[in-house]
Amino acid sequence: MAQQPLELILLRQLASYLAVPIWVADAEGNLIYYNEPAEGVLGRRFDEAGEISLAEVGGLFEICDQDGNPMPPNELPLAVALFEGRPTHGKVKMRGFGKPWMRVDVTAFPVEGQGGRVLGAAVLFWEIAAS
């Protein structure tokens, strides 16, 4: 594994101290870190699972809009932040494998370094209520 850019290293360090569930993705969309509060969303511990590839992430949870309609992959918050390079915020329903549906507020933002280097994205979750 190559060393991650400093910005992602610092973001991971910060996330590891916060109580808000956070995912950190690299520029390809691979989930390179998620903190302890986010382990509940994915249903697996980061220390055990490690990095999760973009292809694998989609199989770990279901996500739909507030009305229960499936969301196209390119409209998912992580995809918007990463591939459109802009922050996004919205309310969605999601559930990890074998878990109940949760209504959550999701904020995703791109991580851009000096000189326009696209380094990845972060996704934050706030659970509204279980349903």
Binding site: M1, A2, Q3, L6, I9, L10, R12, Q13, Y17, Q114
Partner: protein
């Protein structure tokens, strides 16, 4: 490639008889390689004396700044090559997210902090925003990367003839770790240090001091040793000594570190002003 330490002190110069062996000048390292070419890492107060050794046989000077905190640029206004008409001088350093090197450096080299303006220097001055990644400085292959320290800060990895020097004078790779166990993928500066023949690295604090200064951007000596071991460096040179640490204290800290970290198989060289070594 040969290396000479012209300033090893951190934060602010220290004067007096208690600071003679390790030296009181702030960060400055000379890298001697190609003839007729002087390469300098940082322009702390140590760069003044270095500048006096630059004779007419020198046709180009390259100064690589790790960052623009005062202890790394305070010698610039007293660096003779900058005042040598038509001498080719290149200064490299990190841009910020909004300002380039010229704008950032001009904040110091302008009144009221300094009477001479950057644009009035008589040398042939070229300023570079150091690119992240690889570039050439004469016969030296240089790799630059951002490292953990407040504000844009670079570490350098310099290679010539298969031998490598890594330089990270201000660096806190242990920030955020509950117990510092460096992993290659998630440790600031690891890539620059990995397998280097010589690592010159921040070792400003004792373990006790570090506990009160987490986030200040510097390392405890023990962290530096742990990083050096994990990155499998050949030799470790301690650097950026705290301005309050006397020669006697620094001798003791190095001796203690070797006892505490006895299993770390990396030769530890106390960074003292005037030290020269072949990489």
């Amino acid at each position: 490639m040969n290396v000479k330490l012209w300033g090893t002190r951190g934060s602010v110069p220290s004067a007096g008889h208690d600071f003679v062996r390790y030296g009181g000048n702030t960060s400055c390292v000379e890298v001697q390689a190609q003839e007729g070419w002087v390469t300098v890492l940082d322009a702390g107060s140590g760069v003044r004396a270095l500048g006096e050794t630059v004779g007419p046989e020198i046709t180009r000077v390259d100064l690589l700044l790790s960052h623009l905190h005062m202890d790394h640029i305070q010698g610039l206004g007293f660096f003779a090559p900058l005042f040598t008409p038509d001498l080719d001088v290149h200064i490299w350093g990190p841009a910020s997210t909004t300002l380039d090197m010229r704008e950032r450096l001009a904040r110091y080299l302008s009144p009221p902090l300094f009477p001479v303006l950057l644009r009035d220097l008589p040398c042939k001055l070229t300023l570079h925003n150091t690119p992240l990644g690889n570039f050439e400085v004469g016969s030296l292959s240089v790799e630059a990367d951002l490292i953990c320290h407040p504000g844009p800060t670079l570490g350098y990895r310099i290679t010539e003839g298969g031998r490598t020097l890594a330089y990270m004078p201000d660096h806190e790779p242990a920030l955020g770790f509950r117990s510092f166990q460096p992993e290659k993928e998630w440790t600031s500066g690891f890539k620059l240090a990995e397998g280097a023949d010589v690592l010159i690295h921040d070792a400003q604090y004792t373990n006790d001091e570090y506990e009160g200064k987490i986030g200040w951007g510097h390392s405890a000596l023990s962290h530096t040793l742990i990083l050096a071991k994990a990155a499998a460096v050949g030799r470790l040179v301690t650097f950026h000594h705290d301005p309050a640490h006397t020669d006697a204290q620094l001798d003791q800290f190095h001796a203690d570190a070797e006892l505490e970290c006895g299993e770390i198989d990396v030769p530890l060289i106390p960074g003292q002003e005037g030290l020269t070594l072949k990489v």
